[in-house]
């Protein structure tokens, strides 16, 4: 019979692929936990998993014993029993007791996860299509965090780096050993902020604020991703958290505050065309290119082109207005709250004089300021 002969070959192939899996460094469990919560989750998962494996072995050991011994081909005669209330009660009661044993540690952990009281640091996290914003509420520091992997790597035109798709231009930075409370929300659709090593995953919901907390146990860089489908670039909005010693954290914070002061000074400046175009290109690629495309051609039927667009080649005020306020009911967000005056001035100038457009006019930060209300 064909099957009898082929089966060993198929099985051997399956075993070989399993063996291959054992050679490489394949990760089959959670990444090493780096927060008190992540440790507890790890332990709970391992406990539950072994309970399941144990039950599986008992039940299916029995089944395979029957398959082996109670076959017609070895001449086994069928018994005709088909009911036993005692047995039914036993195998209803035992799982119930096992479940109570599992629920106990899980309950304690839930209560711990939900206890966001007495934080040392509070950071507001906002999800955008498709980037994150971190706002250090106590320190007046606020910045965007965007995917840093170059397009060439994604399009297979360059070799992929070790942190492919898990690297950002500016990570979130937190001090080690301190309780960090996150206040999470979103600007457009639902996202989810997730860093496995820290044991935190929380949906960010537009119009609502949720909270979560973690206390990192070790300095280092921990990576995660958005975990709720949020549109086309859902796979391209990673999260990077750098956990630093307290001194390093203080130094980082001081540096950040100095940059905030410098940016405020920019708001009153008058820039040259070159300055605006260069800065505008950077802002465009970080904020606009994912929909309107790096060349400004958009995605027909989904996202409009900038090249030759009525808005980007029409009156300045209309162009600035849509960038500031977005277009309600579409995927176009309001950039007014996200970007400072200089950045908006630069990107509007870039859209009007680059990407195949040439209106010839410049936009300065003061004009943005005037149009903000």
């Amino acid at each position: 019979m064909g099957l009898r002969r082929a089966l060993p070959v198929v099985l051997a192939a399956a075993c070989a692929s399993l063996a291959a899996a054992a050679w490489a460094d394949y990760q089959i469990n959670f990444p090493p936990p780096k927060s008190s919560l992540a440790y507890a989750i790890n332990d709970l998962h391992i406990l539950i998993m072994w309970v399941c494996v144990g039950i599986f072995i008992v039940v299916f050991g029995t089944m395979f014993y029957a398959i082996w011994k109670h076959r017609k081909s070895v001449g086994h005669q069928a018994a005709q029993f088909h009911e036993s209330t005692t047995v039914e009660i036993i195998w209803t009661a035992i799982p119930f007791l096992i479940l109570i044993g599992m629920a106990w540690p899980a309950t304690r952990l839930i209560l711990e996860q939900k206890d966001t009281s007495n934080p040392d640091v509070t950071i507001k996290v906002t999800g955008y299509q498709w980037k994150w914003e971190y706002d250090y509420l106590q320190d007046g520091v606020k910045f965007m965090s965007v995917l840093a992997t170059p397009r060439e790597q994604i399009e297979n035109k360059a070799p992929k780096g070790p942190n492919y798709l898990l690297e950002v231009d500016e990570p979130m930075v937190v001090p080690v050993g301190k309780k960090v409370r996150l206040l999470l929300t979103a600007n457009d659709v639902i996202h989810a902020w997730w860093v496995p090593a820290l044991g935190v995953k929380q949906d960010t919901i537009p119009g609502f604020i949720r909270d979560a907390w973690f206390t990192a146990t070790e300095p280092g860089t921990y990576r995660g991703q958005c975990a709720e489908l949020c549109g086309k670039d859902h796979g391209f909005m990673p999260i990077v958290v750098e956990v630093k010693s307290e001194a390093d954290y203080a130094a980082w914070l001081a540096d950040k505050k100095a940059k905030v002061a410098a940016a405020a000074a920019d708001a009153g400046k008058v820039f040259s065309k070159e300055e605006l175009m260069a800065r505008g290109a950077t802002v465009y690629n970080a904020n606009c290119a994912s929909c309107h495309m790096p060349d400004g051609k958009g995605l027909p039927g989904v996202f409009p082109a900038i090249t030759g667009s009525k808005v980007a080649t029409g009156a300045k005020a209309g162009h600035i207005g849509i960038v500031l306020a977005g277009k309600p009911g579409s995927a176009m967000p309001a950039f007014g709250p996200q970007l400072n005056d200089a950045d908006i001035a630069a990107v509007v100038t870039y859209q009007r004089n680059g990407l195949g457009n040439s209106t010839g006019d410049l936009v300065q930060p003061a004009e943005i300021k005037a149009l903000r209300k």
Partner: protein
Amino acid sequence: MQAHALEHEHGHGAPSGLMRWVTTTNHKDIGTLYLWFAAVMFLLAGSMAMAIRAELFQPGLQLVSPDFFNQLTTLHGLIMVFGVIMPAMTGFANWQVPLMIGAPDMAFPRMNNWSFWILPAAAILLVISLFLPGGAAAAGWTLYPPLFIQGGISYDLTIFAIHILGASSIMGSLNIITTILNMRAPGMTLMKMPLFVWTWLITAFLLIAVMPVLAGAVTMLLTDRNFDTHFFNAAGGGDPVLFQHVFWFFGHPEVYILILPAFGIVSQIIPTFARKPLFGYASMVYATASIAILSFLVWAHHMFTVGMPAVGQLYFMYATMLIAVPTGVKVFNWVATMWRGSLTFETPMLFAIAFVALFTIGGFTGLVLAMAPVDIQLHDTYYVVAHFHYVLVSGALFAIYAGVYYWLPKWTGHMYNETLGKWHFWLSMISFNVLFFPQHFLGLAGMPRRIPDYAVQFTEFNMISSIGGFVFGASQILMLIVVLQCIRGGRKAEAKPWEGAQGLEWTVPSPAPYHTFETPPVVK
């Protein structure tokens, strides 16, 4: 006219030609239509899965754009749930319920015709949405706003398709309930009904309870999209999370709608090939009913990361864990049925055994996911993808395969090719595990679901999974061959082709005549 045609049919066999299928009110014809519809949809949604696995074979974007990738996962999910598993199960109900309870047909034959014939309309809406500007809906089969609100015209078509599918399910369920409650042969009390009939009775009640809920939810999406009703828009006083509550109030019972008839099929097959009555028949009925009731009380276990208060997390965790008890009872009963039987391993039995073992793995991962603190890490990762494919592919789909092989002799009058059937089983069973088992590891290691591209550390398991996927996909062609062969010829099947089979369907000749049980049989 219709009545006259019906009259006319009686004396003869089936009328011939295309109009036979369009106008048929015969439960066997309609069952066949449902099953073929499911098969065609399976090929469509299956080829989408092949494209998904091909894109995920290695990191980087190779074949499809991220937006099209999301369209593929969305349509794959919607079509597999509403276009494959549900119609296939309804096909079984149409063929088997009247045969198993000794009824001449379904209670409302013309509604039955309609229940089927509106399905292709829904399928066409989904397919043409692919070719509209912006492409098909890409917000996931769970349709979450606000993302769903952002989409183009095809999102509205998707909503209409869901309305139609829901109407079809409700009509089908009314028919099934009425048939079972009113048309049983004399002597067939409720507690003598075959378990398949019981599971479908309970499933039909679930469907009637939750399809309107889904219809309501998607209608609210429709008005949010087109008339600014702001049900789910916080800026207008709504709440995006409200949609998730309503969706999962439908969605969790829905997963049991998909699996309860599968429990029924397997409960017919295992006793047959163990040559031993089903162990704990009454407890099987009670377990099915308690699963159905509990399924209404656990919906927010899909939402452990939306930020419910601690009491919410605790309640939904406890309630979900409770479902493991009746589910366990079922598994223990199947194993006890096999215990000390006289087992043989024809293809239906192989699929049924694989069902029991692999569905249980899905049940265990369900239990892991039910632990809210652990689900925080696993939600929306490949671990969940592995979980629901273990319960839906090696669960619902394997049960459908088992049922097709089991009843094919009755439907066609021929035996299928057992060697090819076994090849189909072994290839499917092995490649299924190669495809989905590594996805548990991917989820644990941190790979989110619904992404077209991934970090390099996930490469190896994705490759293994894709290879498993291609073999699994190709193996299903075998099934098609076996079925077509069996329809066209083969060894003649006896009225009762399986030695250990019990039940009224085996008292009529094979193939089952166009009209059966015109005078009801008497059940002792």
